[in-house]
């Protein structure tokens, strides 16, 4: 599975520019879907048919990642940029970005006069090796994702864009393992999550599911001075009860707990005070859906070293398969 993770986390795909991700994921799932389509916004939708006795279930993992977009090229050929999604300047210095064509740029900031201060994004720039504006191979409006190698530290897996390529991995693996399901399941590899869960909303609008399950990362409370939170790395998949954007469907939460207990899958309950996921959009789109989220605990979310635990990933896959393989009474 680490090969698949490496392939997905290292790929390029900031919000709105997910073409390469789509091309990577599609061959992985083709064998396991009855039908595959791409909608107007670029969501990759794989339909796995049920036996007619179940519900219509939408599973969403977003394939987009946070990134930057070039806003200005200086006379000398340095690129100023703005954020795509939640990019924070304290994570940037010394970082590298990759553009759609594979070109790499390095990030630095204007002269720092006060080291105790964090400077805004507008004080940072990207150097792509250009000698001047006319020579610059990058244009205003070009998007870039971060560039960082996937690292395996025992069971700890670190990379950029674990948020939410690890969710995509969970979805792909679950598709492989799910032999039979009573439900009409739509696996949506969604776009534009990081700029407002827009892709999943569009997909839910036209799929009109009864149940929506997002697969995404959640922060943990197990690092120094973290916001107190009862989720830790390696202690199991996390079942979302509430986050800043939604309250998960109570019946669905109960069902997830039940399925986890039945199959002896370790789980934790998640009450997240910041951030939200695609489930938020699925819940409100169209006539509404019972929505919840299986979260993969992740340290250092929205940095270039997002870190997850292999056991949590495995347990998330197991829980998703258990849920989808059996009837859902909500």
């Amino acid at each position: 599975m680490n090969d698949l993770i490496k392939k997905l986390v290292e790929a390029y795909g900031p919000s709105g520019f997910e073409d390469q991700m789509r091309a990577l994921i599609r061959p992985e799932i083709e064998k396991y879907a009855d039908e595959i389509s791409v909608d107007a916004l670029g969501n990759l939708i794989a339909h796995k048919k049920g036996d007619g006795s179940g519900l219509k279930v939408m599973v969403a993992a977003h394939m987009d990642e946070i990134g930057v977009m070039i806003t200005h090229i200086t006379e000398e050929g340095f690129c100023r940029f703005t954020n795509i999604g939640g990019v924070y300047s304290h994570t940037l210095l010394g970082g590298r970005v990759q553009f759609a064509d594979g070109r790499i740029g390095v990030i630095h900031s204007d002269r720092i006069t006060d080291r105790s201060k964090i400077y805004g994004l507008d004080k940072h720039f990207i150097d792509v090796g250009a000698n001047g504006r006319d020579d610059c191979p990058v244009q205003v409006g070009d998007a870039a994702g971060f560039h960082r190698e996937f690292v395996v530290n025992g069971k700890m897996l670190s990379a950029k864009s674990m948020d939410d390529r690890i969710g995509c991995v969970v979805a792909i693996e679950a598709m492989k393992r799910l032999k039979q399901t009573p439900h009409d399941v739509y696996f949506v590899f969604s776009v534009q999550e990081e700029i407002g869960t827009r892709g999943a909303e569009a997909a839910a609008n036209h799929l009109d599911p009864d149940v929506g399950i997002a697969l995404d990362v959640t922060t943990t409370g197990d690092v120094p001075e973290a916001i107190p939170m009862a989720v830790s790395l390696g202690k199991g998949t996390a079942i979302k009860v509430k986050d800043a954007g939604m309250i998960a469907h109570h019946g669905l939460v109960q069902l997830m707990k039940k399925r986890a207990s039945e199959a002896s899958i370790p789980y934790q309950l998640e009450v997240l005070t910041g951030g939200s996921t695609d489930a938020r959009s699925i819940q409100i789109a169209n006539g509404g859906a019972a929505a919840g989220c299986i979260s993969i605990p992740c340290r250092y979310v929205h940095s270039q070293s997002e870190t997850v635990h292999a056991d949590d990933v495995e347990n998330s896959i197991k829980l998703l398969v258990e849920l989808l393989a059996k009837p859902m009474e909500l």
Binding site: M229, A230, K242, I247, H250, V271, I284, G288, A289, L330
Partner: protein
């Protein structure tokens, strides 16, 4: 109808956003005798339909009345042990003002209901930067007075915590209590449905107790989309004149319901409700919003290709506290206004609304 008794049941039943089962059951029982069908949808809104009782168009036009039934509350975020005792760290469901919760009694809805108090370290033990500042959820905790083992056994992360405040009678037929936002409006819809039993109406009435308004207007968006009514009215509370609120545009308790005017409201709907009130010689107030109304109307209005929407609001003091206050008379008036408005709806109504936008016919 004894509105006080009605409100006592409604306000004392817990129903935080996302956990509306208990309050929905109470409302279902109240509305059952007045309506033809009653169901709950997937996000938890309670949907009651009263068929048209006067001959008219088939199928009949439909008006949706939306009063949210959910209330603000707390949720367990973490359990902490100290000297063998279990303390709960919490977060808010909806817009809880953390200045109001210290010292309140609460009910923790664990395996069974447990009474708790909202506690905090005394000021002198809080760090320097927290002096002279309101307490926040970093400092506040819920104390159920039980050892950690019992707490772990009885309570889990994600359990909700409701406030515990019985309904109080004040002077001048006013009442005070928790969750009058928006159970006062649920009571008004109940009054309306009760009055419609005796009346003939050509439009079908869909009364919805919406879920999760306090967090994201969820029930308004989803029911309006799914049910596609021809018109909609959101019933909610608005700011009553009172301490701290007088310098804003607010309304006297007992001075009648307020009709809201602004981008979320169809001017034609507003005018029609106002005309009904004038015919009834019923006291009303007019209020305005400039951007979002902060009510279910915001969601109802843009469902699908748009729905003509209005807002009827009941003046209320001390919104989002445990001592919200309303005048019973305003609830009765709001209910009567809604009922009379519905009785007056006819086949020409939608045409009149369209004419109000532009006198000439459209070009086909």
């Amino acid at each position: 109808m004894d509105i006080h008794k009605l409100l006592k049941t409604l306000t004392e039943t817990p129903g935080p956003s996302g956990y509306e089962d208990q309050i929905a059951a109470v409302i279902e029982e109240l509305w059952q005798p007045c309506v033809d069908t009653i169901t709950r949808d997937r996000v938890g809104s309670l949907i009651a339909t009263k068929r048209a009782t006067k001959n008219g168009r088939t199928p009949p036009r439909r008006i949706l009345l939306a009063a949210h039934m959910d209330e603000i509350a707390l949720m367990v975020r973490d359990v902490e042990e100290h000297n063998g005792n279990g303390f709960l760290r919490v977060t808010s469901i909806g817009g809880v003002d953390t200045r109001q919760v210290f010292g309140q009694l609460v009910v923790v809805h664990g395996r069974k209901n447990l009474t708790g108090v909202v506690g905090c370290l005394p000021a002198r033990l809080l760090p320097e930067e927290k002096q002279d500042k309101p307490f926040d959820f970093e400092d506040l905790l819920v104390d159920v007075g039980l050892p950690i083992e019992t707490v772990n056994n009885q309570i889990s992360i994600g359990d909700f915590i409701s406030f515990r405040q019985p309904l109080l009678k004040l002077m001048n037929k006013r009442v005070a209590g928790k969750s009058l936002d928006n159970r006062a409006s649920v009571a008004a819809v109940t009054v309306c449905l009760e009055q419609l039993r005796q009346r003939q109406h050509a439009w079908e009435v869909i009364a919805v107790a919406t879920a999760q308004e306090e967090t994201r207007l969820l029930g308004a968006y989803t029911t309006a989309f799914a049910l596609q009514p021809d018109a909609a009215i959101a019933i909610d509370v608005t700011f009553g004149k009172g301490p701290g609120a007088n310098e804003h545009v607010t309304h006297e308790l007992g001075g009648g319901p307020a009709l809201d005017l602004g981008p979320n409201v169809h001017t034609g709907m507003f005018n029609a409700l106002k005309a009904t009130a004038e015919e009834l010689e019923l006291n009303i107030n007019i209020e305005t919003h400039q951007r979002a109304s902060g009510t279910d109307a915001h969601g109802l209005q843009i469902a699908r290709a748009g729905i003509p929407t209005a807002i009827v609001a009941i003046p209320l003091r001390y919104m989002h506290t445990m001592v919200e206050s309303v005048a019973l008379k305003d609830i009765e008036r709001a209910g009567r206004l809604l009922a009379e408005f519905i009785v007056g709806l006819d086949e020409e109504f939608l045409g009149k609304l369209a004419k109000g936008m532009m006198e000439e016919e459209s070009k086909q």
